[in-house]
């Protein structure tokens, strides 16, 4: 019997099972890559929404603080005294409820912020807890005495609050960007140029 040359088609026919398996494996790898990529994009978008909601709360607290420390802390109630059936406006009395209302508002927002932070931590974005302690401290410490303070003292406090608020916002977006860095388009020519510059530098350093 003469030996027949083994053709490519014959080789494929003999190993058909292997090609079938390989194609199935490739399909699964492709699916996995696509799935991971969309999951990553979805997580990034959800995390971004949470960071935006958190930064809105920080802004809201800053707005509340400015309003309270500059205007509302000096709210006073008009005391009406009745004298023989005639109502006379007496000395204005400081409104004790203003600072309590302010604290309640701030803490309601802080609680919400903390929930968002927990959700972000579960997504791998961890924040430094020190802002959480510094922010309510700057905002609410001695707020019950604010009505006695000079306008300049209260304005200084507002500046401090705005400073902490600004730092907090920066920290939020920096932490987010650290975990989800922005994607940059791949530039092959640029990459080649950089590599060539590196080689040139190395070559110059030799001589």
């Amino acid at each position: 019997m003469a030996n027949q040359p083994v053709g490519l088609l014959q080789l494929v026919a003999q190993n058909a099972w292997m090609f079938s398996c390989t194609s199935i494996v490739l399909v699964f790898i492709g699916w996995k890559v696509t799935y991971s990529n969309s999951a990553r994009l979805a997580t990034r978008s959800e995390s971004k929404s949470l960071v935006d909601a958190l930064s809105k709360i920080v802004n809201d607290i800053a707005d509340l603080s400015i309003d309270f420390w500059i205007n509302k802390c000096q709210n006073s109630q008009k005391n009406l005294e009745s004298n023989h059936g005639i109502k006379i406006q007496a000395k204005k009395k400081h409104d004790e409820s203003a600072h309590r209302l302010f604290e309640m508002n701030v803490f309601a927002k802080m609680n919400q912020a903390y929930k968002y932070i927990s959700l972000l931590e579960a997504r791998g974005i961890a924040f430094d807890n020190s802002w959480l302690s510094l922010y309510p401290e700057k905002v609410t410490l001695d707020c019950e005495l604010a009505y006695k303070m000079e306008l300049s003292t209260r304005a200084t406090r507002v500046q401090e609050i705005l400073g902490v608020s600004q730092n907090t916002m920066n920290m939020l977006y920096e932490e987010f960007q650290k975990n989800h860095p922005p994607s940059r388009g791949m530039n092959i020519i640029g990459f080649m140029k950089k590599q060539r510059e590196k080689i040139d530098e190395w070559h110059r350093s030799l001589s």
């Binding site: 309590r100 604290e103 309640m104 701030v106 803490f107 309601a108 802080m110 609680n111 903390y114 807890n129 020190s130 959480l132 302690s133 309510p136 401290e137 905002v139 609410t140 410490l141 001695d142 707020c143 019950e144």
Partner: protein, 108 residues
């Protein structure tokens, strides 16, 4: 170990610095709960903030815990080693530590 659950033992809405501000003020809390617990000689005093409605103001924390150094003459180190703060909100512990650190005794 002494366990002080603020929401159960004191009030769910602690508020204000001095007794003149509120019936559940920091001054009252310090005098009725913290000082007796710390003077009892127990090594660990657990202060549990869980269950409080909304939150506790910074002024309350400063007067209650900073006041232990300022007005009750307790040492910063002793306080920090004996007080255990339990809370879902992580910032109470940091705030309290800072208030204790910043407080200076008012009388010698």
């Amino acid at each position: 170990m002494i366990n002080i659950v603020i929401a159960k033992d004191f009030s769910k809405t602690p508020f204000g610095r001095f007794m003149s501000d509120s019936p559940y003020s920091a001054e009252k809390f310090r005098k009725d709960f913290l000082v007796p617990a710390l003077r009892s000689g127990e090594q660990e005093i657990v202060v549990d903030f869980n269950g409080i409605a909304l939150g506790v103001g910074s002024s309350f924390l400063e007067e209650a815990f900073g006041g232990l150094v300022r007005k009750e003459g307790l040492t910063k180190q002793g306080l920090k080693s004996r007080l255990v703060i339990k809370s879902e909100m992580p910032f109470y512990k940091e705030q309290i530590e800072r208030f204790i650190d910043n407080a200076e005794p008012e009388r010698l």
